[in-house]
Amino acid sequence: MAITFTLLLGMVIAISSFLNYHAYRTTLYALGEARVQTLASDLQWSLRQLSTTPDSAHDKITEVKSRYPRILSIEQLLSATTKTEVSNDIMIMTVPQTHASGEIVGALKIRYAMSDEKNRLSTKLDSLIKTALIVFAIASCLVAIAIFQFYRPFIKFVLRSRESLQLVEAETPPSFDDQNIRWQEEVDYLAFQTQAQTVFAVLHEAEDYGLSEESE
């Protein structure tokens, strides 16, 4: 049971660490995505205002890139799509680009470095593993002590019953008698013991008769 408990606690620690890590990761990425979304919205707005002058649009993109070094690249696409994905520590967000008249004229593809988030995730994981190991070590020791304490009376009872059973098997005088009885089950046990003793005695007696005759 101690092993089962330790395994269960290990499982609980692993799952709760994973869930916390997953929750942190989701929040962190949501914040990162919100930031890129802010930048993308601003760019969309700026380019919509500047759409009549393509050079100004290019200047705006260069300006944004220089102000926010985590933006790796900004591409203007002809096909209008909306998509967000994270791969290899880079978030790629594609948002539609509209003309001042409201007509969709293409898309903006922003590649944003997520290496900072990756480092933060690694720190978070280290922190969780450290906590999980400490908690697991303490919990395992406490579980071992507690289970030993709880099981002690039961194990004593089983060992006592087994010893008594071995005496019955060896056909020695009973160890349980009326004086020893504390529980209702021990009354049943006494009945069992008496019956076993009796049957052995009768069988031996019968055997003695049979064997003596056979030897004659």
Partner: protein, 696 residues
């Protein structure tokens, strides 16, 4: 103190220990993690605000070109508040701190002039202050950008709710695992050993115990088996010896033969020995044997409940001009129909195959059903696989129910039923919640595959927890159809009991929980975890309330009043269901619905042996329970179809209203009838119930 109470205490101590440890561990890890998140994510959150404020400032400067044009500023503010969800307040103030233009939610404490310029936190908001060169004199103005201070906290609190639901599931699953292991390693072997010693105490040496795996009890059981084998072998030896003496015809042998014969007959009078010296394996059975298995199957099935209507709607119907709402209801009703039919007709299979084999077959069918549903691409396929899943569900429920009923005596009827009702309700409670969480992260078909995997684990549990019966028990006498249950239908009390008690409750349950709530909540913008959490509240009350109320109803012989009160409560809360759009109030309403249905179900089950007297007397408690399940199954099958027909015609809110009225009318008819006609006739009170097989 008895050995049984010592074992119960030990089990309770272990479970309390487990709950304390798991809660403590989860608490420590979550608190540490959240404190890390708060410290680590706060700068990220504020950096986002800085970027947004900076961009807005550039936008204002470039758009207005130095002029403060209130109309344009207000337009920009409005657009920004719509796009940037984190920003909740925007304002422009002059150099003296006087408010010029503002938009959004003004923080409490703002408007005290210059004081604001040096502050970063005002009331419940984080404020960023940036200098703007605007106005006719190009004087420095200030742009205030405010974000809710608790937005990050809210984000984290949402996560805590998700963690709590997942951890509750984890806690319960761990408790079930420990209960199961404790039962198979300590409780059942010890109960079996003492049962066997009781038999020996009465002189019966014909049974022995199956050898157990290496536990503290295995040497004990081994020694007991050795004693039994020795006694039986000795007796066989004596019989052989007596046989040998028969062949000798000396004078002394005659005397010995007489004495030996007297001894042998004395032995045979007092004791029973195993034929051929080989004792039969005794099955140590307890109502709790099926607990873990039942929990796993119900959990697997409930995983799909929070999103099943949406899943069905995503599959092409292929039926001519069948509206989507009706198509959604069909697989649900078909599932319930096949499960009810199996519950009604699984008795011969149970007798023929035995619980172990039947559960394994049911579980394997359930695995196939889940896999088939996951990969189905047509409406007909969906119906067929759900029908198959319904068969499996019916077989499993009926087998577990019969297993528990056969080991439950009249005295501990409510107690024994807890072993059946608890895993049924807890499995549904946790499964529906877990299913919602899974559906958010996995496609629907993969959740069905998770259910299949859990059912497969259930098959393994069947192999471990249910002992294989001895060979001679395998070939049971052929089952004969018994139609005595039909006479219950000539009893007006029984008809009223079912028509206005069991059937309407089940109809409400399937219509509201399996059909309307997922669709209604989904239509109100709730995600699958939220739908799962709302449904979980219903099962929370039924899980813990049903066994408790069944015991109380048994103890105080109180059946009619709780059923009437339950009908009134569930009708009243359903009348108000359409009024609420807020998640918390909806959860409370569904919780009250759970309370109402618990008040109805528990006394009905408790009253069953009295009301369904003919079936109970002639066919036993298992058949009585099956009859009840089949009757209430009529309501279960009708529920989704009635809900679909009504919602197609009137909409979800009106459908709930009509169902609420039906619940109230049923409660009044039930209460009114049983107020005048007593639930149990006087004659039946005098007439004791049939003796059920005693629990070992």
């Amino acid at each position: 103190m008895t050995m049984r109470s010592m074992i119960t205490t030990l089990q309770r101590q272990l479970l309390v220990l487990l709950i304390i440890f798991i809660s403590g561990i989860l608490g420590v890890i979550t608190v540490q993690s959240l404190s890390f998140d708060e410290t680590d994510l706060r700068p990220q959150f504020e950096a986002n605000l800085d970027v947004a404020a900076d961009l807005l400032k550039s936008k204002l400067q470039s758009q207005l070109e130095g002029d403060l044009l209130p109309k344009q500023v207000s337009g920009l503010f409005r657009d920004t508040l719509q796009i940037e969800k984190e920003i909740i307040y925007l304002a422009v103030i002059d150099k003296a701190g006087k408010l010029v233009i503002e938009s959004g939610l003004r923080p409490a404490g703002l408007g005290e002039g210059k004081q604001i310029l040096s502050k970063h936190h005002v009331g419940e908001q984080v404020i960023r202050t940036l200098t703007l060169s605007l106005g006719p004199n190009m004087t420095d103005m200030r742009l205030l950008v405010g974000a809710g201070k608790n937005q990050l906290g809210d984000h984290i609190h949402e996560r805590i709710m998700f963690l709590l639901a997942a951890l509750l599931i984890l806690l319960w699953v761990s408790v079930e695992i420990v209960r199961f292991l404790f039962s198979i390693s300590v409780k059942n072997p010890l109960a079996g050993a003492w049962g066997l010693m009781g038999r020996i105490g009465a002189g019966d040496f014909r049974g022995r115990l199956a050898p157990t795996s290496e536990t503290v009890l295995s040497p004990f059981i081994h020694t007991l088996n050795k004693i039994i084998a020795r006694v039986n072998n000795h007796f066989v030896y004596m019989e052989t010896l007596a046989g040998n003496l028969e062949e000798q015809n000396t004078a002394t042998s005659e005397q010995t033969k007489k004495r030996l014969g007297a001894h042998l007959s004395q032995l045979l009078n007092r004791f029973h020995f195993a034929e051929g010296g080989t004792a039969q394996v005794m099955l140590a059975r307890a109502p709790e044997d099926t607990r873990a298995v039942l929990f796993l199957f119900v959990f697997a099935e409930a995983l799909t409940r929070s999103f099943f209507p949406q899943f069905a709607a995503s599959i092409p119907a292929e039926f001519v001009e069948l509206p989507v709402d009706m198509f959604i209801a069909l697989p649900i009703s078909l599932f319930l129909l096949s499960s009810v039919l199996m519950m009604a007709f699984s008795e011969p299979l149970h007798t023929r195959l035995g619980p172990r084999q039947l559960l394994i077959i049911g579980a394997l069918i359930s695995v196939v059903g889940f896999i088939g549903t996951a990969f189905t691409e047509s409406g007909f396929g969906l119906m067929a696989w759900r029908g198959l899943s319904g068969i499996a569900y019916g077989v499993i429920i009926a087998t577990c129910q019969a297993y528990v009923a056969r080991l439950t005596s009249e005295d501990d009827w409510a107690e024994g039923l807890c072993a059946f009702l608890m895993p049924l309700s807890i499995g549904a409670l946790l499964g529906v919640s877990m299913g919602g969480i899974l559906a958010e992260h996995l496609p629907f078909d993969q959740v069905f595959l998770v259910s299949a995997a859990i059912s497969l684990i259930g098959v393994l549990f069947c192999f471990v927890s249910l002992e294989k019966p001895p060979e001679q028990l395998e070939s049971s006498p052929p089952h004969r159809m018994n139609f005595s249950w039909m006479s219950d239908f000539t009893n007006l009390r029984f008809l009223m009991f079912m028509t206005f008690g069991a059937i309407p409750t089940r109809l409400m349950m399937t219509a509201i929980l399996l059909y309307l709530t997922p669709l209604y909540l989904s239509g109100s913008g709730f995600g699958f975890p939220a739908i799962g959490a709302v449904l979980m509240v219903y099962f929370l009350f039924t899980a813990f309330g049903t066994p408790l109320l069944a015991r109380l109803a048994d103890k105080y012989n109180l059946q009619v009043l709780p059923v009437f009160a339950g009908g009134l409560i569930s009708g009243a809360v359903m009348l108000s269901l359409g009024q609420w759009q807020n998640g918390l109030t909806l959860t409370i309403v569904i919780g009250f619905l759970g309370i109402g249905h618990t008040l109805i179900n528990a006394p009905l089950i408790s009253a069953l042996p009295k009301i369904s007297g003919v079936t109970f007397q002639s066919s036993g408690p298992s058949a009585g329970l099956s009859l009840y399940r089949v009757c209430e199954g009529v309501g279960a099958i009708a529920g989704p179809i009635v809900a679909a027909v009504l919602s197609m015609r009137f909409g979800y809110a009106e459908t709930i209203f009509y169902l609420a009225c039906f619940s109230l009318v049923s409660a009044f008819v039930f209460g009114g009838y049983f107020l005048f006609a007593k639930l149990v006739p006087e004659a039946a009170v005098q007439d004791p119930l049939p003796n059920s097989p005693p629990s070992h």
